[in-house]
């Protein structure tokens, strides 16, 4: 195509010249033809040479591009190999974390027991002054492809002696089908929303009154838990726990049947992008034999033998604009405890009902800063027969109101100031707390 065009152009240039000379001889015409033919051959040769060079160049370019692509892939491969530490949750196996939880307390008289309630363990306002509190050490990792294991122990100074508290040691299945999970060992019961949170994850310095009155802070199970998540789009979960341990409200016994049972159910979901909620209902049924109150190792007061039935209703609602809690978020939570005990106390007939509840709201008003309000209250109706014992009807409810402000410059540290108007005893008390919570090591879990 290009060749014939060239020829036409050449002819077009040549023709007017030929026409201008009327005396053109036949020899000249032949000569011109010869010249044109030679020129055409020459151009054809040079053009095909150029085309061949173009082809080669194009091929070389393609090869170079492919080589470059391959080199890039190879370099990428090497870099991936090098950067591949995999995305396992544990950089270290097991993951190790420690939480330091201590602070300063200013309290008037304070209390260690709630009127009308058998003290369920280490409860109360604590003492004035500075305390390094508790150091919690946690180890966790997959055991193998079937189990996940977790150990937590706490170190605390108990009147000059270092006390090691064995908080948790459990193994959980990860390979059971159809939504089932079984856990065994020592673990925090699922009866109550707050119960299986560690203390340092609470939004206030101390546990709400019902937790202190009914659980001694928290309910620990030595035994087995089985739970099932339904295959639904709303969360529906049910579970049970068998407890052979002696943790309040149960007592340890030498029998092969467990001393306490738990049943629990949870329902939860989202409302739009900004709201999520969970409702829980649980029941703890315990057989108590000679259950005494008081602090660990000290036996004081009367002993209870009989049935203890506790029902807990809990809810939590969380809000964040479009589900993004970074700047602002709000959490409202409340729980209602109702217990009925039937048997003998200090060898007297005892049929008592107690109840308690708390309601709290925590508002993150700016990044890092949160403010919270809580009201908690417990009531005992133990009947007239127990006058003179520690379960004597107090004739009033014990209640408190608290306000807290905390600041968390990172996910790993928190400072908190809390004021409590304490009316657990007849005489009201003002309590101030300044708390620090620092976590080192493994990244904590973002629980709901």
């Amino acid at each position: 195509m290009r060749i014939s065009t060239t020829a036409i152009v050449l002819l077009a240039i040549g023709l007017p010249a030929a026409a201008a000379n009327a005396q053109v001889s036949g020899d000249e015409v032949a000569e011109l033809r010869q010249m044109i033919s030679e020129m055409r051959d020459d151009y054809e040769r040079r053009i095909s040479e150029l085309e061949a060079r173009l082809d080669t160049a194009e091929r070389e370019a393609r090869v170079a591009k492919r080589d470059a692509g391959e080199a890039f892939e190879l370099a990428e491969e090497a870099a991936i190999q090098q950067s591949s530490g995999s995305s396992a949750p544990n950089t270290f196996n097991p993951s190790i974390g420690a939480v330091l939880d201590g602070g300063f307390t200013d309290v008037g008289g304070g209390w260690e027991e709630i009127p009308g309630f058998q003290p369920a363990g280490e409860i109360g306002t604590g003492e004035s002054g500075f305390s390094p509190g508790e150091v919690e050490i946690n180890l966790k990792a997959s055991v193998d492809a079937r189990y996940f294991g977790n150990v937590t122990f706490a170190l605390a100074d108990e009147e000059g002696e270092v006390e090691v508290e064995f908080e948790e040691a459990w193994v959980q299945t990860t390979a059971l089908p159809a939504g089932f999970t079984v856990m065994g060992g020592r673990f925090f019961s699922e009866a109550g929303y707050l119960n299986d949170f560690h203390f340092h994850a609470d939004d206030f310095v101390d546990r709400p009154l019902p937790y202190q009155a009914f659980y001694g802070g928290r309910h620990t199970v030595d035994g087995i838990q089985a739970r099932w998540v339904a295959p639904t789009s709303l969360l529906f979960e049910v579970g049970t726990e068998l407890n052979w341990g002696g943790s309040f409200p149960a007592t340890a016994n030498a029998e092969s049947s467990p001393g306490a049972y738990t049943l629990f159910a949870k329902l939860g979901g989202d409302v739009g992008a900004s709201n999520s909620w969970q409702l829980g209902l649980s029941h703890v049924a315990a057989d108590a034999v000679d259950r005494v109150g008081g602090h660990e190792g000290e036996e004081e007061g009367g002993a209870f033998t009989g049935d203890s039935d506790l029902t807990v209703l809990d809810f939590v609602w969380k809000w964040a604009p479009l589900g993004n809690p970074t700047v602002n978020n709000f959490k409202l939570q409340g729980e209602y405890f109702m217990r009925s005990e039937d048997g003998t106390f200090a060898d007297l007939a005892y049929d008592g009902d107690q109840e308690g509840w708390y309601l709290q709201g925590v508002w993150q008003f700016a990044p890092l800063w949160r403010v919270g309000l809580r009201h908690d209250r417990v009531d005992a109706d133990n009947g007239p027969g127990l006058a003179g014992t520690e379960l004597e009807d107090p004739g009033r409810s014990s209640h408190r109101s608290s306000v807290m402000l905390d600041w968390s410059p990172s996910e790993f540290s928190r400072l908190r100031l809390q004021y409590t108007d304490d009316q657990v005893l007849e005489e009201s008390d003002s309590v101030w707390y300044l708390q620090y919570i620092m976590s080192i090591g493994a990244h904590g879990a973002h629980r709901f």
Binding site: F72, E76, A79, I80, S83, S84, G85, S86, S87, A88, P89, T91, S142, A145, F148, T174, A175, L176, P177, A178, G179, F180, T181, R227, W228, V229, A230, P231, T232, S233, L234, L235, F236, E237, G268, G269, D270, A273, S276, W277, Q278, K318, L322, G323, N324, P325, T326, V327, P367, L368, S410, E411, F412, I440, H443, G444, A445, H446, R447, F448
Partner: protein, 297 residues
């Protein structure tokens, strides 16, 4: 009352019986699954473009979603460290536990950058496995797409041919688009920007953008007034072209600095759904480049 019960029952009914139920931690992977599997899958998406995937909680709806999943696709590299391990343990679903075919971590298949030489929390919430915000480099998308197609084929052999064909088609369209974007974005090279968090490091790596500073003094630590004042002083002699932010990042520090330096805050889509235009991976990239072009000096 009967109507209320009927509604409850409807909500409880098992999620529809598609070939595969997929739980996706981030919108970009949900979009990629859409490209490779089309209508063959039912996708539960844990986060939107307006939520920080690091800050999520293992909330009830996510536990329910994970319970029903055949495949879990997340970024990995510790991005979801705060909630994913807990979510998996609560789900009671053995199919998506670490090590199972149903557990897919995208960051395992790409070249990660900004891998710290040492790990100490005094440097902020640094990820030992490098920067996890990998999806704004098109080569990473290619890598993940290839690996994901293989994984889908493994989990659902009946549709393996269709996943592979979709992947080939997607990869062809994607590499054509990538070449187009690279050509088009040449003038963006060297564009000086400030970002809130290191959310755009891979984009900067790809397009040769110059992220001169981050508002956060350290990864995951919100900027303080003092930090912002220092930045203002540092950037005043040569203000950058703008401050880029993802939709879930706090806008106030960006606006504070933008007012004082008289430079714009550039609202980036960051991921699929982060702007009206970014409806899939292609339009996310188109829109990202178009946004930057708009503010080029």
């Amino acid at each position: 009352m009967t109507r209320f019960i009927a509604v409850l029952v409807a909500l409880w009914l098992p999620v529809s019986a598609s070939a595969l139920n997929v739980f996706s931690c981030e919108p970009e992977w949900a979009a990629l699954i859409g490209e490779l599997a089309g209508d063959n899958v039912e996708i539960t998406q844990a986060t939107t473009a307006f939520q920080d995937p690091h800050m999520l909680q293992a909330r009830p709806s996510l536990i329910a979603g994970a319970r029903n999943a055949d495949l879990l696709i997340c970024t990995g590299a510790d991005l979801e460290i705060g909630w994913l391990p807990l979510l998996l343990r609560r789900s009671g679903n053995p199919e998506i536990q670490p090590g199972s075919p149903g557990y897919f971590m995208a960051a395992d298949y790409v070249r990660r950058i900004e891998i710290p030489a040492s790990i100490d929390r005094s440097q902020g919430d640094v990820h030992p496995q490098g920067n996890p915000h990998i999806h704004l480099h098109p080569r990473n998308i290619e890598r993940v797409a290839e690996a994901l197609a293989d994984r889908l084929a493994e989990l659902d052999p009946a549709n393996a041919a269709s996943y592979r064909a979709n992947a080939d088609d997607f990869l062809q369209r994607w590499s054509d688009a990538r070449e187009r974007w690279e050509e088009r974005a040449m003038p963006l090279a060297g564009m000086r920007l400030v970002s809130h968090h290191r959310s755009f490091s891979y984009l900067a790596d790809w397009l040769d953008l110059d992220i001169v500073a981050t508002l956060e003094p350290k990864p995951g630590i919100p900027p303080s007034g003092a930090q912002l004042s220092k930045l203002l002083e540092q950037l005043t002699p040569a203000p950058p072209a703008g401050i880029i932010r993802a939709q879930f990042e706090n806008e106030r520090p960006a606006h504070w600095l933008s007012d004082r330096l008289s430079i714009p805050v550039i609202e980036m889509a960051f991921t699929v759904g982060g702007s009206e235009q970014a409806t899939d991976l292609f339009s996310l990239y188109e829109h990202t480049i178009a946004t930057l072009e708009e503010y080029r000096e």
